[in-house]
């Protein structure tokens, strides 16, 4: 009976330590996976920022083309009517050009803000990945220390049991 109790104490300690170790290793694996996904998200955001930048540049270029076409159309209409490009026609043309310029600036700024948002997201994702990597390392150490502590404590307790019961001298 005493031997059975002694063996149970040892086995129990071993199983407990194994469970603890595996739990920590599981947490480590999870943290590593989380870090990988965070890196993935940061790359997605980066790609999104690049796409936004290209879209914004294209939109700005399109706007410029539209503005030049409108101004050319205005000059053509004025010229066809025989009116000199002075006085009111000139003022209209200048006002149109100013409005188009404002619009162009607005388009550029909007595009830049969207790009900046995606870049920020990418940076945040990298930070999260870094934190998860650190956690993974911590879980790895915790696995060894936790299981080791359990083995030490359980071993000592089993030794005490064994000595008291006379299983070991």
């Amino acid at each position: 009976m005493t031997t059975a109790i002694f063996i149970m104490a040892i086995v129990g300690t071993g199983v407990q330590a194994y469970g603890q170790y595996q739990q920590s290793k599981q947490a480590q694996a999870q943290a590593k996976a989380q870090a990988a996904w965070n890196l993935y998200n940061s790359k997605v955001a980066k790609r999104q920022a690049e796409a936004e930048q290209r879209a914004a540049a294209f939109e700005s270029k399109q706007h410029k083309r539209k503005a030049e076409a409108l101004l050319a159309k205005q000059r053509a209409l004025v010229g066809a009517s025989g009116v000199e490009m002075e006085g009111s026609p000139l003022l209209v043309a200048e006002d149109t050009a100013a409005q188009l310029a404002k619009e162009a600036v607005n388009i550029r700024l909007t595009g830049q803000r969207r790009v900046q948002a995606y870049r920020s997201q990418s940076i945040l994702d990298i930070s999260r990945a870094s934190a998860a990597t650190s956690r993974a390392a911590g879980y790895g150490r915790a696995a060894v220390i936790g299981a080791g502590s359990t083995l030490l404590q359980g071993g000592a307790q089993a030794g005490y049991l064994g000595y008291q019961m006379g299983v070991i001298e």
């Binding site: 009976m1 005493t2 059975a4 109790i5 002694f6 149970m8 104490a9 086995v11 129990g12 300690t13 071993g14 199983v15 407990q16 330590a17 194994y18 469970g19 603890q20 595996q22 739990q23 599981q26 947490a27 694996a29 999870q30 996976a33 989380q34 990988a36 996904w37 993935y40 998200n41 790359k43 997605v44 955001a45 790609r47 999104q48 690049e50 796409a51 936004e52 290209r54 879209a55 294209f58 939109e59 399109q62 083309r65 969207r114 359980g154 307790q157 089993a158 049991l161 008291q164 019961m165 006379g166």
Partner: protein
Amino acid sequence: MKLPRYTATIAPPKETGLVRAQDTGALTDVGSAEFRAIEGAGRAIQQTAGIGFQVYMDRQALDDLQKMGEISIKAQESEKLGIDEIGLIDIQESRPLPNDPDYYKGDKIPDSISWAKSNEKVFADHKKRILDLATPIKNPKTRQKWINSQLIRGADSFGRVSRAKYDEYQQATFLGYAKDAASNGDIETANKWIDIAEKYGLIGPKKAAAERDKNIENYIVGLYRKGNHDEARKALEASSLDSKQKEILDDEIDSDERNSLTQAGLAIEQKDDAIGAGFLDLLTNKLDPAKPQLTFDMIKVSELSFDAKKEWFTLLRVFDNYSEQELKEAFTDKGEVLADIYDKIDDGTLTDELDTMVGKGLSPITAQRIKTEVREPYKKDTEQLFKRIFGWSPELGFENELSSFLYEKTLRTWEAEIKAQKATGEKIIEIGRSIARPYFLEHLKTVMPSETNISRMIELALGEEIKEVKPAEPTEVKEQETVKPELYEVGESRTDEKGQFWEYIGNNKWQKK
């Protein structure tokens, strides 16, 4: 003419097509539950082992407790055995005695080493027994604790017993020396021994004071036992003993003086009888002149007492003047007188009657023969029967002639009572004891020295407390008790070894003339 040109607007896509990772499961705890369960299982196993261990230890503690109860009794027996072994140690082999030249050096009697050494083997044997006894105790710590407690206890007991034994021996030795010295008249040396015993702590001041008083008592007892009664009285008077002690000792001196005189008187009487028996034979030769004759010179130079010589001078003068016929008549018993005397033998009053019967015609030769021969069977029978009653025979009692007759009378009463009651078995012994006890007690009071503890003697002889037994005394016994036998006639005089004359004043008391 310039024709308007058409440029296709191919806007680059704003979306990359990539999707952010959200709730992919990476952050969800999917596997640790299993391992938590495994850890829980391990903890459960460990706790089960802990419970099993606790149960085992509780059971072991109970078993050990029970075993300890059993073996503790045996341990006490082992301790007693050790104490008995110490009791058998011969102290004189291992202890210095006062005749050792180094004995009194220092402030302490050098006994501690001796008694400690004597304990070594006893303790070693005890330890071995304790270790054997401790085997059934399962818990090693409990076992060791029990062993330690038993060994400490044993060592303490052995130490105390040894110490007490040695101290007792030493004390007895010193007090014995003191008693011997005092009894031999050296009270100074006696007190020195008491001083030493007190100095070394063997006795306390109170006992020392009592022992010094005892020295004085022993000194006085020593004096009177050597016959120096007057010196003893003087020493008693000069002593510092209290009045009660003085009174007791004074009584003892008086009693011893009386006893010594009584014993001397008895010795003289027995001697007179023995010489007289020889003279009677010579006196018979008067009928045959060819045979050796009794002469006055023979009486004169004999060791007879003064009074006996006077009696024999008178008797020889009477027989010298007898004619042959008168001599024949004197040496021939008359039939009726002889018959009378044998009746007296049966009555147990022979001694009182012998002289009277001689005057009535009983031959002195026959009287002497009766005294020396006829009574012998009675003595033997008496002795045997007393042995049967008490398992002990008062042989000393026969130093006094009269006491033997008392026994004989007792026996006759006993036999009569057995017949009357038709007693058998133990009842016979019971009757014998109840009848004989008063005679026995009376006899002891008469013949034993006054300081004898008679009650104790009776107790030892009869195997029972005399105070607890109140036998129904038969009528004959009461009569015998009320009439105390007198060994001598009042007014009768004797001389002691120093030539001092004493007069008998009755009740076994003598007075100087």
